[in-house]
Amino acid sequence: MPWLVGTALIHSLAVTEKRGAFRSWTVLLAIAAFSLSLLGTFLVRSGVLTSVHAFATDPRRGLYILGLLVLVIGISLMLFAWRAPKLAGGGKFALVSRESVLLANNVLLSVVATSVLLGTLYPLFLDALNLGKISVGPPYFESVFLPLMIPVVLLMAMGPLLRWKGHDTGVILGKLAPCFVASVVLGFTGAWLAGTMSWRMIVGMSLAAWVLIVNIVLLVERLGERPGAAAGVRLSGIPRAWWGMWIAHVGIGVFIIGVAMVNGTQTNLDVKMRVGDTATMAGYDFELTAITDAPGPNYAAAEGTLKVTRDGKPVATLTPEKRIYLARQMPMTEASLDIGLFGDIYASMGEQIDDTTWIVRLYHKPFISWIWFGCLLMAFGGGLAAADRRYRRLAARTAPDAGARQTA
């Protein structure tokens, strides 16, 4: 929730900075982003919700954190109620403009964050009102998150193409229509190449294609802004903040490819294996060559060695372990991973069926590294934007003024 609202915040700041408009909304987003972090602390420490993130829960501790919440957020919102009316005003801009698209995405991102909050707290609401006990899990979040994020991604890619203050609707539609058609075509092609023609796959690939195509158009347009200048001059003339935005948005496209591919094409195979047996999955051959004892400092373990080949060529050797921690006789599995640019293979040991046979679980997750890669791009883009030289120039410019005011 904080990162959804935080994303809305940094984009809202762009509008406020440019037009001085919607300042109270920006302030509220800032308060909300931090409040949600505090709320997260409360939720995982108080025992109010069952959660995989919850630890050391204690209702008394929860009461203290709740008190902190009331103090910090209560005062912030009171200040907001008192001073926000003074933040009204700001410049005007057309209904079709970069500002509008940014604000529309803010609304959508805030709605998504609210939905996540609603889904998380709803079981508590119903339980408190004695209306029964329900669970809200992945089916709900997926059915709410995905439809709302589609327009967000659509608007995100095209936002930078629109001009500030206003843009001719006909012109922008003319630019975007071929991009849209190309995205859909690429989306279908991508899904077909991946071998899964489900709606989720097609939509996912089309969205990713949309992001990448529109960003290429954007780059070409930006580079074309100084006709006659050399390529190096054109490139260095683009501020870091713009590159940051471009890289971060491309990162989202990469992220979507990762998610779509993993969800659409991952495979899993559970087999009973003896030493010498082979299993085949997703074009890879797995041969169990040995099962050895691999004891550790506080556990006993059986380690399997799997030789992975593809068309006879060796790919990796996986060594999953089944450990039993001696203190409480607790069994744990240590999976073995082979991480690749276009997919991960991983294997884990299941139960031992008899003296020579083990259950082995094999997974193939294509493009899963792209999820991480997309996030790295987003982070890098953010860092690049923060390093923009204009922030330092602005600080240098206001410093002598501050000095002048002090001596006056």
Binding site: S46, G47, V48, L66, L77, M78, F80, A81, Q329, I353
Partner: protein, 197 residues
């Protein structure tokens, strides 16, 4: 101050109200949907006379407690003295549902247990345990594979069901029975149900 800017504060205080109240609730507890519904029918082997069975119909006409227990259940030992004391007062019949005595024990490797040995093993373990800890049950029955448990919505041990004269489940106590719970909740309900015709 314009009213609309107070909305966030108001919504926040409403949320805090729920969160504060939520601190007194237990999110892990799963309430039973079988309250005020007929108890699921069952016919299970008796622990004391393994050649005989006990069914739901045999308890009709009485108000009685069904206590889910097992020798491997640590929390059951907590409530056992309370149950033994209750049984001495002879206020309400107590039926023990021995739940997955053999296969529920994490230290037993089920691959080494032959299918036909599971029932005799369960009878031996359960009887030994009751002998050494005291037997509060009017009769104990064996749910070897836990199917009757699933029908009752059992998700942990111990749990106790209060069933009325018509065989309808009227109350479920989750976790070990404490003297307070017995005195303040369960026994008053027993008295009320007995008064019902």
């Amino acid at each position: 101050m314009k009213a609309k800017f107070l909305v966030p504060l108001f919504l926040f205080l409403l949320l805090v109200g729920f969160l504060g109240f939520g601190l007194s609730l237990n999110p892990r507890e799963v309430p039973s949907p079988l309250i005020d519904k007929p108890a699921p029918d069952f016919t299970l082997t008796r622990l004391d006379k393994p050649e005989q069975t006990l069914g739901l119909a045999d308890m009709k006409g009485q108000v009685w407690l069904l206590n889910v227990w097992a020798s491997w259940c640590v929390a059951c030992r907590q409530e056992h003295p309370v149950l033994v004391a209750l049984s001495k007062r002879k206020e309400v019949p107590l039926v023990g549902l021995n739940y997955k005595e053999v296969r529920g024990d994490g230290t037993i490797d089920m691959r080494k247990v032959a299918a036909e040995n599971e029932l005799p093993m369960a009878i031996e373990r359960a009887s030994d345990w009751l002998k050494s800890h005291g037997d509060p049950y009017d009769v104990s029955i064996l749910d070897i594979n836990g199917r009757v448990g699933i029908d009752f919505g059992v998700y942990g041990v111990p749990e106790t069901f209060l069933i009325d004269k018509q065989g309808v489940i009227r109350y479920k106590h989750i976790g070990p029975i404490t003297p307070d719970a017995l005195r303040d909740t369960i026994l008053p309900k027993v008295a009320a149900l007995k008064a019902e015709s």
